[in-house]
């Protein structure tokens, strides 16, 4: 079943098309990756889905419901949660309170205090931060701040989770842990749509990958298909090969 579907999704910033006529879909229970060089429009596409930016044209549907015109807080309540490329945390609040915000406000119905506290504990247990629940988030390391973001998103009980460069800035051990966490999230029944530059991660866990370049979708397929795709190699992997070589 298609959980998320976009048709002709377009976003203009002035005269520049940051996202141009992109069609895409995410099936329930999938892990879908999105790659593309810097400035390809990946985060903009996420912002369009989460409601942070309005669409210029086209439409996005979540389980058949049109999302156009909904505010981020409404989209969160519908069942789409996200993390941010540059962590957006409530720095002065303890870890527990950060996640509690998601538990209290993320559901369409009023969540009783005890249920919310239990959900927070479970979410913190899941991301491995149970021992730090009283620490102010600004005192945590980057990887732990990213875990707080995942726990906070998880506490809103999403059906679809948008992960924006979860692995950026992490070391190899942390990346493996994060990959394992993403797979576990999917096993919990949450559909994952992730933007990632870490090729090892995206090739390792994504069932399907789409590639964006200058706001246009240039390729889509399994990790093998993408890795062998001529256009992708030219615009993306090719660049990296040159830079690396």
């Amino acid at each position: 079943m298609r959980i998320l579907e976009g048709q002709g999704v377009t976003k203009y910033f002035g005269g520049l098309a940051a996202v141009s006529n992109v069609d895409f879909h995410i099936d329930q229970g999938e892990i879908v990756g999105m790659i593309g060089p810097n400035g390809a429009g990946k985060t903009t596409l996420f912002n369009l889905i989460s409601g942070a930016l309005p669409l210029s044209s086209g439409e996005i549907r979540f389980k058949g419901q049109k999302l156009n015109g909904l505010k981020p807080h409404q989209i969160c309540k519908v069942g789409i949660a996200r993390t941010f490329q540059e962590t957006k945390i409530f720095g002065n609040m303890p870890v527990f309170q950060n996640v509690l915000v998601g538990a209290f406000f993320g559901s369409p119905n009023r969540v009783p205090g005890e249920d919310a506290a239990r959900e927070v504990s479970q979410a913190l247990e899941f991301v491995g931060l149970a021992a730090m629940s009283a620490t102010p988030v600004k005192d945590l390391t980057l990887v732990n701040q990213k875990r707080v973001e995942v726990a906070r998103a998880l506490a809103t009980k999403p059906e679809l989770l948008l992960l924006d460069e979860l692995m950026a800035g992490l070391n190899p051990t942390e990346i493996s842990e994060a990959m394992e966490m993403v797979t576990k999230l999917r096993d919990k029944g949450i559909t994952i749509f992730m933007v990632e530059h870490v090729m090892k991660a995206i090739m390792g866990i994504c069932e399907r990958i789409m590639a964006l370049h200058h706001g246009e979708k240039i390729a889509e397929g399994t990790s093998q298909e993408i890795a062998c795709n001529k256009t992708v190699i030219d615009v993306y992997l090719g660049e990296e090969a040159h830079a690396g070589g």
Partner: protein, 326 residues
């Protein structure tokens, strides 16, 4: 023993509740034995407590610097001036709060989409705007400059201010502990993230901005008869915007009691020292503010919690040492 058990189980409640009860009893009985000077002084201090606490409730937690208190405070004063012949005093207090609430609601809907600096400047402009419009309307419609308020005895004014103070502080205490308080804090922490976690940030900001205006407006209504004569310059004086901010910074906005402490200290100093040493008072005031901002960014409340931490650490150290010795 029952009493000792009661004390040990409810130690925290007694530690906070008893002093509060004593202060409240002291305040409610002071008109019986205190002189006029003390009653008037305490009325001013309570007024500043209301202004500072309600300012900090909104601006301290959301991070939106409002310079609007004077606009709502002055609105309260003019509500009193215009309605004094028609309604009883307690009703006017409520009406003044409601008028300020509606004004704040309208202003909030227009401006709370603005962020940071722009919001602060707009609220500053609101005070000037209200002052000019009031002054103009008075001249054209009422053909007068300023309004005379029928005096009310000091004790009544004092009790009215005391009741509003208690109501304000109770409301703020419960709001801070509620979901509304958490959503305000998360807006202050990161507004984008708050919005993406399901918080209707615009609604939260407008609502809490307007709630804080209720208390400011009510305090304005009560202050008008104390001044006997008001005009637009007096009612919408920017002092009423700046003092609560300085008091909150001095006291510390992180804790509930911070702005209250700041208002008591500065309210007292202003009333007692300003009359005698007006120039030196402002100079001293400025120096103290600079020192606080430099060395105590979280104000007096921040200093207190820092000391508490240190004492707790020392105690832990002692215990550890005892364990090591045994």
């Amino acid at each position: 023993m029952d009493i000792t058990r009661f004390i040990s189980t409810h130690r925290k409640l007694l530690l906070v509740g008893l002093p509060l009860l004593i202060i409240l009893v002291f305040l409610t009985t002071i008109p019986l034995y205190g002189g006029v000077y003390w009653i008037r002084l305490l009325t001013v201090i309570l007024m500043y407590v209301v202004l500072a606490a309600s300012w900090a409730m909104f601006s301290g937690s959301t991070g939106y610097m409002s310079l609007a208190p004077a606009a709502f405070f002055g609105t309260g004063m003019y509500t009193m001036a215009l309605l004094q012949d028609y309604l009883p005093f307690p009703v006017i207090i409520v009406v003044g709060g409601l008028v300020s609430f509606i004004l704040a609601l309208l202003v909030g809907l227009i401006t709370l989409r603005l962020r940071g600096m722009y919001f602060a400047i707009f609220t500053f402009g609101l005070v000037v705007f209200m002052s000019e419009v009031t002054s103009y309307a008075e001249g054209v419609i009422l053909k007068s400059r300023g309004q005379h308020i029928i005096p009310i005895d000091n004790a009544t004014i004092f009790y009215a201010m005391l009741i509003i103070t208690v109501v304000t502080l109770l409301a703020i205490y419960f709001i801070r502990r509620s979901r509304l308080g958490l959503s305000m804090l998360s807006i202050g922490g990161n507004e984008d993230a708050a919005e993406h976690m399901g918080i209707d940030t615009t609604r939260t900001k407008v609502l809490t901005f307007a709630i804080s205006a209720i208390f400011m407006g009510a305090a304005g209504v009560i202050t008008a008869p104390r001044l006997i004569y008001i005009n637009a310059d007096i009612a919408f004086s920017l002092t009423y915007s700046f003092m609560p901010i300085l008091m909150s910074i001095f006291g510390g906005m992180g804790q509930f009691y911070g702005p209250i402490v700041g208002a008591i200290v500065f309210g007292y100093l202003e009333k007692t020292l300003r009359a005698q040493f007006s120039t030196y008072f402002m100079l001293g005031f400025g120096i103290i503010m600079v020192m606080v901002i430099l060395f105590l960014p979280n104000g007096i409340a921040g200093l207190v919690s820092m000391l508490q931490d240190k004492i707790a650490k020392l105690r832990k150290g002692d215990e550890a040492e005892q364990h090591a010795n045994t």
